[in-house]
Symmetry: C2
Subunit: 111 residues, 2 copies
């Protein structure tokens, strides 16, 4: 945020796109689960117990299509699939880390 | 992110709550418009032209209820109302700033 914006100056459309992308239901949690390294589908599912497999699968496809997540097939047998963040996805770490800090500071006592 | 989490370790519920809160449709843009100082309703509306007044009003009430935004009445005449971030809202600045940087780096060329 370089300097003060004039009152009512339009919000950057790229920012708006980013916050809607990351804020889409469950997307933030999925990205966060992958921050520490590649996971198998079942491991992402275990990290977010409230999320159904069907919806997780849908979100994963969206994240692949947007270039944030990569699907890797590890030759077998047994053939295995795992998911990892692309460089684009990994570079969300500072933003999501700041949001985690904020959440610990402000949400733990307000509930 | 202190150290690597075990594979499939549950995503922090406070993080999940934060990302769903900030990522709720239009909420990120509204918060961002207020980062540089208090604005009148019409100025927030001007900063986010695609957002209807009805929905902006709804979101503002939600943000007030969550303690992120404060409504100030400035005695008149003419009586004026303006909106500003609470300390809780202001402390989202690092997270939203990082997201803005990410958006500039990754979304401008991928569209």
């Amino acid at each position: 945020m370089a300097g003060a914006a004039a009152a009512g100056e339009p919000v950057c459309p790229l920012f708006h796109e980013a916050v809607e992308l990351v804020g889409r239901r469950w997307t933030g949690a999925i990205l966060r689960s992958l921050m520490d390294g590649p996971l198998r589908f079942s491991e992402v599912a275990a990290a977010i117990p409230e999320l159904s497999d069907r919806l997780l699968s849908e979100r994963m496809k969206e994240l692949e299509a947007r270039g944030l997540v990569k699907r890797e097939v590890i030759p077998g047998p047994p053939l295995r699939v795992r998911y990892c963040l692309s460089p684009m996805g990994h570079e969300l770490e500072p933003a999501l880390g700041e949001l985690q800090s904020w959440a610990r500071r402000w949400l733990s006592s307000s509930n």
